[in-house]
């Protein structure tokens, strides 16, 4: 049986360091399998988050050889095993222990985004009619598994710590899903511009590169939202119209 060495960040709020573990590896293994092997035989208290082992729950995000990835979807045969594989926690959020970070900021920030507000039902039985083409568009955003790898690489959060002013690519994807939903009547453009800080994004596309669900975050979610914000606030004609006539509120207000 072959072995490989993994250099795993161990530590907590008191600081930490990389520790090397050598473990058996075999065909088909992913990084999470190796971490579990190490946890089971050499480091019972090695903290890591995981749940589905299938790239669906978004729990096992980590930085593997410096790249933000899901541990359960990263095959060992995609990594050079002749030198230690480094595994460390994602960086844009507070560290808890070993490979675990506290990502709860994302859920708190999500609560501040205005909720889905559909127009009144189209039919007496309370149902709606939508064109397939209109609803197809938001399907891409709904693939998101909330792994927060995109948040991890976004320099606005990671380097500049603008968590209070910028919701980050994941939540822009979420806002896009709501804004572009054919039934939605809510207006989030003011928030996008101010509270959500969409202007901080300078379209570096780092987020798109790391998304394990291959969501085209920048081109399909952020840029269309930026365009809407620009149309709304910087188009001189719209500005004039807005002054004269506030956005009409839908009659039926319940959600």
């Amino acid at each position: 049986m072959n072995t490989a060495t993994f250099s795993i960040f161990r530590g907590d709020s008191n600081g930490g360091k990389f520790e090397d573990y050598t473990t058996e590896v075999s065909e088909g293994m992913v990084v999470l399998d190796a971490v579990h092997g190490i946890q089971s035989a050499q480091a019972n208290d090695l903290a890591c988050r995981w749940n589905c082992k299938a790239g669906k729950c978004g729990s096992c995000s980590a930085e593997i050889n410096g790249m933000p990835k899901l541990m359960c979807m990263t095959r060992l045969n995609s990594l050079p095993l002749d030198k230690p594989v480094t595994i460390e926690p994602i960086k844009a959020f507070p560290h808890v222990r070993d490979l675990v970070t506290d990502v709860s900021w994302n859920f708190a920030a999500k609560m501040k985004i205005k909720k889905f507000k559909p127009r009144p039902p189209d039919a007496p039985d309370g149902s709606w009619r939508m064109a397939q083409g209109d609803i197809d568009r938001v399907q891409e955003y709904r693939k998101c598994i909330e792994c927060f790898l995109c948040q991890d690489v976004c320099h606005v959060l990671r380097e500049h710590n603008k968590h209070d002013e910028f919701i980050g690519p994941r939540l822009l994807v979420y806002t896009a899903a709501l804004e572009m939903h054919p039934l939605d009547t809510e207006d989030r453009l003011q928030d996008l511009k101010n509270a959500h800080g969409i202007g901080y994004c300078n379209i570096t596309k780092c987020c798109t590169k790391v998304c394990p669900e291959d969501i085209t975050i920048t081109d399909n979610a952020i840029i269309p939202l930026k365009e809407r914000v620009v149309d709304e606030f910087y188009d001189p004609l719209k500005r004039l119209l807005r002054l004269l006539r506030p956005k009409p509120k839908p009659e039926n207000d319940h959600v």
């Binding site: 089971s40 480091a43 019972n44």
Partner: protein, 292 residues
């Protein structure tokens, strides 16, 4: 499963599933498969370099759902511990002998809502209740015990993961999909030995986010559930739904009228008994008639 047990399985102990044949039936089959099964396509491609639109995939059975669970009142979702509510997969009853695809989603939405509403009502009517400090101290003492058994990084005592892995393997082998009395009795013996080891597992490190410690605590629950499954499966001498007994291959009408109920006896042992299935209320019978 019998084919696999007899050595005719695929290289990794499963079978081959081929959906690529669809290409003989419909045009543009590859795109159709990718559209209908996007996650499966992606997972096989990424984890095994297998293109399921072109070649067979190797599949094997695994645990998908626990049909049994905490016994609750069907309306309020309250267990026989007053004020303790259960809903979803941990509660028993709604799915009968075999949960149909998609029914868990509707279960958790409907009965999660009911459990929440009745729990709120219960609290309003009964107040916060009394806390027994001795019981709390005892629970704390028991949960901290694994730290006090002298485990160190280098060894010293057995850790929880080895016991957990053996339990998983044994339950899969002996109380899995195809069941026989003989194998399940062996599982009971095995559980006895694993219980002893469970009571001795040791962990090290501190209490913050320590998965070894969590597993040491969980292990008691895994053992309890495994034992309840095994004892109930031995008791049910018939095949029904997802419970398949090689030694009793058919349904038995008498068993169709009872639930298997497991409870803790005064001496701490597990007791298994049969109880008649509650009669269906008239208004539900009517719904079923209407749907026919």
């Amino acid at each position: 499963m019998r084919e696999i047990k007899e050595g005719r399985g695929s290289p990794h102990g499963g079978v081959f599933l081929d959906i690529a044949w669809i290409k003989e039936k419909i045009a543009d089959a590859a795109a159709h498969i990718q559209r209908k099964l996007p996650s499966m396509y992606h997972q096989f491609k990424q984890l095994a370099d297998i293109d399921i639109t072109q070649e067979p995939m190797e599949v094997g059975p695994t645990t998908h759902y626990a049909m049994g669970g905490i016994r609750v009142d069907a309306d309020t979702q309250m267990s026989n511990v007053p004020g303790l509510f259960a809903a979803g997969e941990c509660a028993a009853g709604i799915n009968g002998a075999n949960r149909l695809g998609g029914n868990s989603l509707s279960d958790i939405i409907v009965f999660g809502k009911r459990a929440g509403e009745f729990a709120a009502k219960y609290v309003k009517e009964h107040g916060a209740g009394q806390v027994n400090n001795d019981q709390i101290d005892e629970a704390v003492r028991r949960s901290l015990e694994p730290f006090e058994r002298g485990a160190t990084k280098g060894g010293g005592a057995e850790g929880p993961y080895q016991v957990q892995a053996e339990l998983q393997e044994m339950m899969q082998d002996l109380v899995g999909i195809v069941r026989t009395e003989d194998e399940m009795q062996r599982a009971l013996d095995g559980l006895g030995k694993l219980w002893e080891r469970t009571r001795k597992v040791a962990v090290y490190g501190h209490r913050e986010y320590n998965p070894g410690w969590h597993t040491a605590i969980d292990l008691h629950n895994l053992m309890t559930v495994s034992e309840a499954i095994t004892r109930s499966a031995i008791e049910r001498k018939e095949s029904r739904g997802a419970h398949f007994r090689e030694d009793y291959e058919n349904k038995d009408a008498a068993f169709g009228k009872v639930n298997t109920v497991v409870s803790k006896a005064a001496d701490g042992s597990m007791q298994v008994r049969r109880e008649p299935i509650p009669v269906m209320p008239e208004h539900l019978k009517q719904v079923i008639e209407e749907m026919k």
